[in-house]
């Protein structure tokens, strides 16, 4: 078993830094290379700030040919490399384990084609998610996956992590909207998988590449599916006295055969921060509010919204408010999507966002468990999450200068994620495994499962030079802990 496990990645001891920088400059030009320590500081980590590794060099390719040149040079010099979008990952997906060449794709930011009739667009990986949707506005179309960080995160990064967002409940996650990719393989060959026509024969490599956290190569071009805008929306805000009433409402809406566009829950602590920042008029004495949105054709939509209101009231909603104008609706979504930016108002210097999933009917259990865990460890905690998908994001707040609090956050996170597994769920719904959650993989998968995943990675990335040390435990399933980073501090900062 595990005979195919690639050797642990290392930057070959003999490589010359001077030669590496010279090669990179030859490929992309002097202006597209960073080498000074101060310039590269931002590339040490992503939203998961505990794992930091300084790259040897940061390069900014502006074409597929550049990426090929970079990758080939890395192979010749025996150096690892990693592609990076905007660095909004919350799981250390952008950490270049062991050092090497950071391929920053921010300058590959062109929307190459928008085809309205055939409902697809072709974009470079550095295109920011919301740019695409903005560009599509005149056509009545949008790109459906809308992570809360969509103002910063890139389509290439979304492809790497198979990002979600509030509207995945009805519209699906990133992979459901990716038609094809151009991939620079770790040996420098370029392949096109899928494309704008459907049912390409053979294996759905596109589907496997999406969510592979950059371990199969560098995606240099993406074909995305475009979705017609809904004709109408009904956006409601249910106000609840208890978390249980809120989660029971969510369960009953789904149970009634309604598939809303989004069901997002914010708890009392989160509301106080959001309200302080946005003055939206949220009730500060409620234990939870749920944003409940249905969309689609106008015909029959009001009846559906009325049914949702009835279900909320039956579950003791104190009040159900309605967004009566598009401006009100946008204000509500702004408050939701920028909730993370307001956490600083709660008075804690640091916070750690978790990402767990449970079957949606288990939401009341996991929410009770989260509250009990916070109490047990005496931690501040708030919640804002994709309730309709069962995807919880407990935010543990603490002071990182106090080692006892830091340890408490680590332990509490572990307990919450373990409970997600116990309830039949997962340790990540949309943020990825990265380096943060590698140690959980053996809890979710058997050694045989992990060995098979290592074999698949080997088909693309035989010596693990591309995005080393991600997603899979290095031994392909044995229980040894990930060794390169001692997790002594939880991560913080991000939008979810």
């Amino acid at each position: 078993m595990n005979t195919l496990t690639p050797p642990a990645p290392t930057a070959a001891p003999g490589f010359s830094h001077v030669a590496l920088v010279a090669r990179m400059k030859a490929v992309v030009g002097n202006d597209n290379v960073l080498t000074a320590a101060a310039d590269m500081a931002a590339y040490e980590c992503d939203g998961f700030t505990i794992a930091k590794t300084k790259p040897n060099v940061v390069v900014f390719p502006t074409s597929t040919e550049h990426i090929v040149g970079i990758v080939k040079a890395c192979n010749e010099l025996g150096v690892s490399f990693l592609a990076r979008g905007a660095g909004t990952s919350l799981a250390g997906g952008c950490v270049l384990v062991g050092g090497g060449v950071m391929i920053a794709l921010a300058r590959m930011k062109r929307i190459l084609e928008v085809n309205v009739r055939d409902r697809y667009a072709v974009v470079e990986p550095g295109v920011v998610n919301v740019w695409l949707t903005n560009a599509l506005k005149p056509h009545g179309l949008h790109y459906a996956p809308d992570p809360s960080s969509q103002g910063a995160c890139t389509i290439g990064g979304n492809v790497a992590t198979n990002s979600g967002g509030p509207h995945t409940l009805k519209y699906g996650v990133t992979v459901n909207h990716i038609l094809g990719v151009e991939l620079v393989l770790p040996d420098g060959r370029v392949v096109i998988c899928g494309g704008p026509t459907e049912d390409t024969p053979g294996y759905d490599l596109t589907g496997a590449i999406v969510g592979s956290e950059g371990t199969f190569g560098v995606v240099s071009k993406v074909w995305v599916r475009l979705t017609k805008n809904p004709e109408a929306y009904r956006t409601l805000l249910g106000v609840f006295e208890t978390i249980d009433d809120a989660t029971n409402t969510i369960s009953d809406i789904i149970g009634a055969g309604i598939v809303p566009a989004a069901l997002e829950l914010l708890d009392k602590t989160m509301l106080s921060a959001v309200e302080a920042a946005f003055k939206f008029g949220f009730p500060l004495d409620a234990e939870a509010v749920v944003i409940m949105e249905v969309d689609g054709l106008a015909a029959g939509l009001q009846e559906e919204a009325d049914r949702i209101e009835g279900i909320a009231k039956k579950n003791n909603a104190r009040e159900v408010r309605k967004a009566n104008t598009e401006a009100e609706r946008m204000a509500l979504w702004k408050a939701r999507k920028q909730a993370f930016g307001t956490i600083g108002r709660l008075g804690y210097p640091s916070y750690c966002t978790q990402d767990g999933v449970v079957p949606r009917t288990k939401l009341p259990e996991i929410m009770r468990h989260i509250q009990a865990t916070a109490k047990k460890y005496k931690l501040g905690i708030c919640n804002v999450f994709h309730a309709g998908d069962g995807n919880v994001h407990p935010i543990l707040m603490f002071d990182e200068r106090d080692p006892l609090q830091v340890k408490a956050v680590m332990d509490a996170s572990h307990e919450i994620l373990s409970e997600c597994i116990n309830l039949g769920g997962s340790v990540t719904g949309e943020h990825g495994i990265g380096v943060e959650k590698i140690d959980f993989m053996p809890l979710m998968f058997t050694p045989d499962d992990l060995h098979y995943m290592v074999r698949l990675r080997t088909a693309f990335n035989p010596d693990s030079r591309c995005s080393p040390g991600k997603m899979l435990p290095t031994a392909g399933g044995c229980s040894e802990p990930s060794s390169f980073v001692g997790q002594t501090k939880p991560g913080r900062r991000a939008a979810v």
């Binding site: 009739r117 026509t197 759905d204 949606r360 998908d389 069962g390 039949g424 990675r457």
Partner: protein, 370 residues
């Protein structure tokens, strides 16, 4: 023909077959045995239908976990008890197994509105060439832990292992259904499809049939539709939604078509024709059945250039054309008959197969002819 009673027996069978340097040919409901290329080495057929049954159906989570040898009809019957369904069209659902549907990536008219199996399979278990069962994904609707091996198995023609268990995301059954059928000639087909593509309505299916296909399909459906069969092309537009939304869409589309070059537009109170159109994909009398995929905007031009004596039907807004004739049309991917076009990533796919099935145990020859 081997019939393993459970996964342990199947694992043993795979190990024996590999040791004997034979091929293992998994068989489900035997509905699509002629899809793909001929087997390339001797071996054993493995009937998977004993590994069947529902494992877990938490209806309020809108997910179901079943053994892969369960028939599609049995899965749908279980879901129907809770007013839910898997909105993917599979031909011969009484016989076809879910594992088989995954292997061939079955789909039909409703793919336009609901997507395909890759949008519904959220968890999978399968037996690998090592004779062990492995899994990926899980039972929750959102999950990015580990590689997405579900996608890799869908449409793999059983060449990467024997699928044993599947977890599906499912949907509530729509409240109502309705459809609009009309005819047009070749000269105006492109313009007509453009009108349907830009309609304010949101159809779940837009099917295009030539005259021959319409006659065959209508006969299979068993219900005469009051349309002149003299139309060069017939278009079927299906709606499934809330009752009010179906009513609105039917009347809106009929309005939009008033100034369009179409004839005999008529409405029907259901979308039952989707079943006959799905069945047509496996029409036993057809010698060669080819599938041609083009951009939807090029579909009219493509179909009007294909020989008129073939049976032609298409998922028009998805750009997927089915052609039944004596030979396969140029650019066809294999369904039945020899010869196929190969995508740019073919060599990489072959390499993936070699890496994950080193001794070429599973369905050797079916996809790569070696």
């Amino acid at each position: 023909m081997e019939l393993p009673a459970n996964v342990a027996d199947l694992c043993a069978l795979v190990s024996q077959t590999r040791a004997a340097k034979h091929g293992l040919y998994p068989v489900g409901g035997r509905t699509t045995l002629d899809i793909g290329l001929p087997p390339s080495k001797p071996g054993v057929a493995c009937d998977t239908t004993a590994i069947a049954g529902v494992i877990d159906y938490p209806a309020r989570d809108m997910t179901i976990t079943v053994r892969a040898g369960t028939t599609v009809a049995a899965v749908q019957a279980e879901l129907a008890k809770e007013g839910q369904w898997l909105p993917v069209d599979v031909a011969s659902p009484e016989k076809a197994t879910l594992g088989g549907a995954v292997a061939i990536n079955a789909s039909g008219p409703r793919r336009l509105g609901y997507g395909t199996l890759r949008d519904y399979v959220i968890g999978i278990s399968f037996v690998t060439d090592d004779g062990v069962e492995v899994k990926a994904g899980g039972r929750v609707v959102k999950n990015v832990a580990g590689y997405d091996l579900m996608k890799l198995q869908i449409g793999a023609l059983g060449t990467l292992g024997v699928v044993t268990q599947l977890t599906l995301k499912v949907k509530p059954k729509p409240e109502a259904a309705g459809s609009v059928v009309f005819g047009c000639d070749s000269a105006s087909l492109g313009a007509v499809l453009d009108i349907v593509a830009s309609s304010k309505t949101r159809p779940v299916a837009v099917e295009l049939l030539n005259q021959t296909a319409w006659r065959v399909g209508e006969a299979a459906d068993g219900r005469r539709r009051p349309l002149a069969s003299e139309q060069e092309w017939t278009v079927f537009v299906g709606f499934e939604e809330k009752f009010a939304a179906v009513r609105w869409q039917v009347s809106t589309l009929l309005d939009e078509l008033k100034s369009a070059p179409v004839r005999d537009a008529a409405e029907f109170p259901d979308t039952a024709f989707c079943a006959a159109l799905t069945a047509l994909q496996l029409r036993p009398e057809s010698r060669c059945i080819g599938k041609v995929c083009v951009l939807p905007s090029k579909l009219a031009e493509t179909v009007t250039n294909l020989p008129a004596n073939t049976i032609l039907h298409a998922h028009a807004l998805s750009g997927v054309i089915w052609s039944h004739g004596e030979t396969l049309p140029e650019g066809a991917t294999v369904r039945r008959g020899a010869g196929a076009s190969q995508p740019p990533a073919w060599e990489l796919m072959r390499h993936v197969k070699k890496t994950l099935d080193t001794d070429n145990v599973f369905n050797p020859g079916r996809m790569f002819a070696d």
